[in-house]
């Protein structure tokens, strides 16, 4: 950062520069969120005035999400300004592209809403009393159709990859996190070198393997094998059942195979642990995998061993998704 012309090499940033940087963060974070809150609140009021309760309810949910997002952003700013406020062990880093999800639920309801791993992981962590250092590394458009047989998904655009240089630049922001969750949507989102940079930065890496199993093409998602070269440095890999069927069981220290309301399977050092679910279906499972992975990282951060962390994550996801 420039020193305003008055400093010497290695000197602290000039106060004017720090104030400018703070103003930029206030503009890019809380101010945008508050602007969005006002517009969504007005839209929700319009919906109520028109008697459109369904749209009003969606608006209220969006307001809740925005309020939580704003509170999280302000908390992160406060922690950055005064690192003493940071609660060690309660933060999980989450990196991944932001998604614009076009969702069709089982009952035919069509929704368009923000999605992606940072979004859902931050929500799950907040519900667990922790916080996410959630950083959106790109963006994409995704179409999901939930059916009783499962979820059909289409990727409409490929997100930008997180380059090793960009990952290195992010490391200071991830200080205080023991785990980072990488929410890849396609195979190229987190190159091998990027994973290596994060792992060498002292972070345990949990990778959502959905992107690796999908490949890097737009259109309907077709699952395939995973390139093991992309798993170097990964501590925990999360797949769902379909992805695991297509990709096999890649060798990683902690392999998690999620089965929604049926629970999950954890493989550690070749030993399989089964975590039972309660079998109560998720009305809208979008983001359940992201939430599970985030809560698993939180459990591991809190010192739980892998089976206990998986059980804790399963329990947390069920509470979130049955509500």
């Amino acid at each position: 950062m420039p020193g305003g012309g008055s400093g010497t090499a290695g000197a602290a940033p000039a106060p004017a520069d720090e104030r400018r940087a703070l103003a930029d963060r206030l503009h890019d974070g809380p101010q945008q969120i508050l602007t969005a809150l006002r517009l969504v609140a007005d839209g929700t009021r319009h919906a109520l005035e028109q008697g459109d309760l369904e749209r009003a309810l969606l608006g209220l949910r969006r307001l809740e999400e925005l309020a939580a997002q704003g509170a999280g952003e302000l908390r992160r700013m406060c922690e950055d300004l005064d690192p003493g406020r940071r609660q060690a062990g309660e933060r999980v880093a989450v990196l991944g592209p932001a998604a614009e999800d076009e969702v069709v639920l089982e009952d035919g309801t069509e929704l368009r809403r923000p999605g992606g791993t940072p979004h859902y992981a931050a929500r799950a962590l907040a519900a667990a009393g922790a916080s996410a250092v959630a950083i959106e590394t790109g963006s994409l458009v995704s179409r999901l159709r939930h059916t009783p047989q499962g979820t059909e998904q289409e990727i409409a655009s490929i997100p930008e990859p997180l380059t090793p240089e960009a990952a290195r630049a992010l490391l200071p922001q991830l200080e205080g996190c023991a785990w980072v969750l990488l929410g890849g949507q396609t195979a190229g989102d987190f190159p091998a070198e990027t994973v290596r940079v994060l792992a060498e930065g002292g972070l345990a890496v949990c990778l959502d393997g959905q992107g690796l199993a999908r490949g890097s093409q737009t259109g309907p998602v077709r699952l395939g094998p995973i390139d093991p070269g992309l798993l170097n440095g990964v501590t925990a890999l999360k797949l769902n059942e379909q992805e695991a069927q297509a990709a096999g069981r890649p060798e990683v220290p902690e392999l998690l195979i999620t089965r929604a309301d049926q629970g999950c399977i954890l493989v550690v050092e070749g030993e399989e642990h089964v975590v039972a679910g309660n079998g109560r279906r998720f009305a809208d499972p979008t983001g359940a995998g992201d939430s599970f992975a985030a809560l698993y990282c939180l459990g591991r951060t809190r010192g739980l061993d892998p089976p206990a962390a998986a059980a804790s994550a399963q329990d947390g996801v069920q509470r979130l998704y049955e509500a």
């Binding site: 101010q31 945008q32 839209g43 963006s139």
Partner: protein
């Protein structure tokens, strides 16, 4: 309060913040407008304005590459010019004057209500 459902005015949204861009898109669509294109910086806004010929451009002032003021100037003075409503996080009169001098139809402060935004877009479209 102005009517909630506006006629289908075609809109280009230029906003670098993905969250706010999405909220603007949904809010304007629910108000009966048609979002024909979205840009995340000023240069993209100018290119998409020429390509998609919206009735009105809703332009953020502070964006990367080409900022909102410069993009507004290029759009307002192009042969295919169309009205631009600028959204500004800044409160300083000189910033608002700069937007208007660049050719903006109006300049609203971020935090504006939906009704006021819709009315500004409709007024810009009417000329």
């Amino acid at each position: 309060m102005p009517p909630i459902v506006a006629e289908s005015i075609r809109i280009l949204i230029a906003e670098d913040n993905a969250l706010l861009r999405g909220v603007l898109r949904d809010a304007l669509a629910e108000a009966g407008m048609t979002v024909v294109a979205e840009a995340s910086d000023g240069a993209e806004a100018v290119a998409l304005a020429e390509q998609s010929t919206p009735d009105v451009v809703v332009m953020d002032m502070r964006m990367p590459n080409v900022d909102g003021i410069e993009a507004t100037e290029q759009i307002a003075h192009a042969p295919w010019a169309m009205p631009v409503v600028v959204l500004s996080a800044y409160d300083e009169p000189q910033m608002i004057e700069a937007a208007l001098a660049a050719g903006a139809a109006s300049c609203l402060k971020k935090g504006v209500g939906l009704d006021e935004l819709i009315e500004a877009i409709r007024a810009a479209e009417r000329g």
